[in-house]
Amino acid sequence: MKVFSAEVCVTRDDLHKHLKFPFTLASDAEGLTVRYSYSPKKYEGADSYALARAAFEASYPEGIAPSVEEIKAELPLNNHVALSLEREGVLIGTAHRHANNAEYRVSALSASPGFTPVAAAKGEWAVVLSAHAVLDEKITARIEVEAE
């Protein structure tokens, strides 16, 4: 049974923020499945090379310039919005991965990598999106939580 669904717009103003999307589980369940996707993943902006070069130059020591090849090896740049799950305000886990389309499951007996097994008990839950990298003006994220 679907217990939460949202289409979320993550903008550059959300960069380096944790965006919380609470939902209530009305009754105990066997487990929760979270389906999560966002796009775009790759940033294709014309300033990509300049942004990457600036990052290299901020880290390289004086007198050593990054090569064009080194900078180009980091292109295209990526948007990155990681998903965490909370129950009653307590972190259950984080999926710090670079794929932009994933499914995670938690139950009392097992959980997807990154998450701690926990009973899908009735109460207050939240999906939290952590905006590690937002290069496009707008990223569209889709969240769907199903209780079984």
């Binding site: 380096h16 944790h18 940033y43 942004l51 990457a52 990052a55 290299f56 901020a58 880290s59 390289y60 020591p61 050593i64 990054p66 980091e74 740049l77 990526n78 990155h80 990681a82 965490s84 972190l91 886990g93 984080t94 999926a95 710090h96 991965r97 670079h98 959980a111 990598p113 990154g114 998450f115 701690t116 939290v128 952590s130 590690h132 990298a133 290069l135």
Partner: protein, 232 residues
């Protein structure tokens, strides 16, 4: 080394990832790769989760590889590896304003905290890759990744210079290497951390070696590149 005659120095890799975050290894594959590489132990430091630790510890026992429980606080402003598995800090609460307090909390609970790749190429190539934490963290951290990834990476020169400057100024920071190991690949160009362990080379004694400054960064042949200039 460092005048501690009882310590035996073992090679460790203190910065590793599995598929519990963005690594390609399963915990078993990581432990097997560590054994194949001749390491005595590893710290499992997945990004913002420690859910792979139980399996890694179990496999480590089977293979004779010491596994130190850990996590990498992968924040927007810098990355910190926290080793020991005692901390209750939620990584999302770590910011430039709170970093020192959160590190102090983790250390007070029995963990060691190490600033990871302080000068890695940062945002937007690697968010938080370059530390933006304030200098006050150097009063509470246990260690500093003087070298990260490929030893010849130019950003390591800045980290090395900062480490030497900090320790010259009296900061008690153990010298640590972090491969930031995410999966199989060539072993050429990487290093190890040598830990001077007194007694059985288990996780707690490995942590004690870091706290005591019985550490050195070495290349893969064991040649020391930089060692901690103090002992506790």
């Amino acid at each position: 080394m460092n005048g501690n005659d009882k310590a035996v120095y073992y090679p460790f890799e203190l910065h590793c990832h599995t598929l519990h975050s963005d690594g390609a290894f399963t915990p078993r594959e990581l432990a097997e790769a560590a054994k194949a590489r001749g390491l005595k132990g590893i710290a499992l430091t997945d990004h913002n989760t420690s859910t792979g630790v139980a399996e890694a510890v179990r496999v480590g026992r089977e293979l004779g590889i010491t596994v130190i429980p850990g996590i990498e606080w992968t924040t927007f402003y810098g990355h910190i590896t926290v080793l020991g598995g005692h901390s209750d800090v939620d990584w999302r609460t770590v910011s430039p304003a709170t970093a020192a307090e959160k590190i102090r909390r983790a250390v007070s609970l029995g963990d060691v905290a190490i600033l990871a790749h302080p000068y890695r190429v940062g945002y937007p190539v690697c968010t938080g890759g370059k530390s933006e934490f304030p200098d006050e963290i150097f009063d509470v951290l246990t260690g500093y990744e003087v070298y990260s990834g490929v030893l010849s990476d130019p950003t390591n020169l800045r980290a090395r210079d900062e480490y030497l400057s900090l320790t010259s100024a009296g900061k008690k920071l153990a010298a640590v290497y972090g491969r930031d190991w995410h999966g199989q690949g060539t072993d050429i160009g990487y290093g190890v951390t040598l830990l001077g362990i007194s007694g059985t080379p288990n996780a707690e004694n490995a942590l004690e070696a870091i706290r005591a400054g019985r550490t050195a960064v070495a290349d893969c042949n064991g040649n020391i590149i930089v060692k901690t200039p103090f002992t506790a």
